[in-house]
Point group: C2
Chain length 149, copies 2
Amino acid sequence: MKLSKKAEYGMRAMVAMGRAAAGTTFSIQDLAANENIPLKFLEQILLVLKNAGLLRSKRGVGGGYQMQRPANDVPLREIVEAIDGPFDPIGCVQGSRPGKSCECGIAGGCGLGRTMSELRDMVQTWLTETTVAHIIAREAPPQMMSFDI
Amino acid sequence: MKLSKKAEYGMRAMVAMGRAAAGTTFSIQDLAANENIPLKFLEQILLVLKNAGLLRSKRGVGGGYQMQRPANDVPLREIVEAIDGPFDPIGCVQGSRPGKSCECGIAGGCGLGRTMSELRDMVQTWLTETTVAHIIAREAPPQMMSFDI
DNA sequence: TTCATTGTTGATTGATTCTATCGGGATTGG
DNA sequence: CCAATCCCGATAGAATCAATCAACAATGAA
């Protein structure tokens, strides 16, 4: 069970933007080059993130993308869900198909559906609480050469 | 991000077997019919679960599959990993590619990889601690008609 | 105005994976 | 022997994924 490449690229792009000062503008080209993401692929991704309200854009010379919110206010869940849709281990968890019963046909939901909804909730909570800033904070700190022998 | 249908069917089959007394034998046909799983598809799945050490089988008349261990000793992780492989949000988490560095090329791993390995560990822990018996315990209890007006 | 720069959009392709299905083969008990 | 049952490999159709292509629209500078 993996995230799509799109979602990964989307997170990498957001992290790259989140590292810079608020208001910094990035062209798709620069992001693609720096993060090793196929240019035309990244185009689609940033557009989705823009439509999801995570980015704003400006066209023309000197244009590009900016973050709408600071990195510590961008949950990974918003990025991942905008691109890949919600995390949902099986198509049978409670509340995942409004108005429809579990596809197993058991009224009130089956044990598997109930159990998997626990996993879903746990993952979604983590994705909500973990932000772009969290990722940046976990990047390798600059080497402290003086502590090496 | 979803589990495969195979993994879901595998869990449903294991749950069905786990409900019965230890040592009960099930034919593929019965399981397929009761759980609404395509017969030839279930064949493949049960074979994988057998090779993973979760089931034992007996051929010929009166044969079928049995669980190797009681339901409370079968973590969902064993079922899911045998069929779908390990949960791994991106192909860049620490330790997921032995001997290889993160595909992002950053020595020591990138922040995204470190962060996603936290999610991976959380999910794998849950899958390890949650068993087939857990699912069965969450199935709808028999209706208590006497308490309805 | 003109033009290069940059984002926007839809279509398309090629590869891969998913979800099965098919056809037989091997083993066992009666 | 034979019927039931598991075992195994190949195949096929559909869906999804990853990426590319081609053309368009807006912006700001010269």
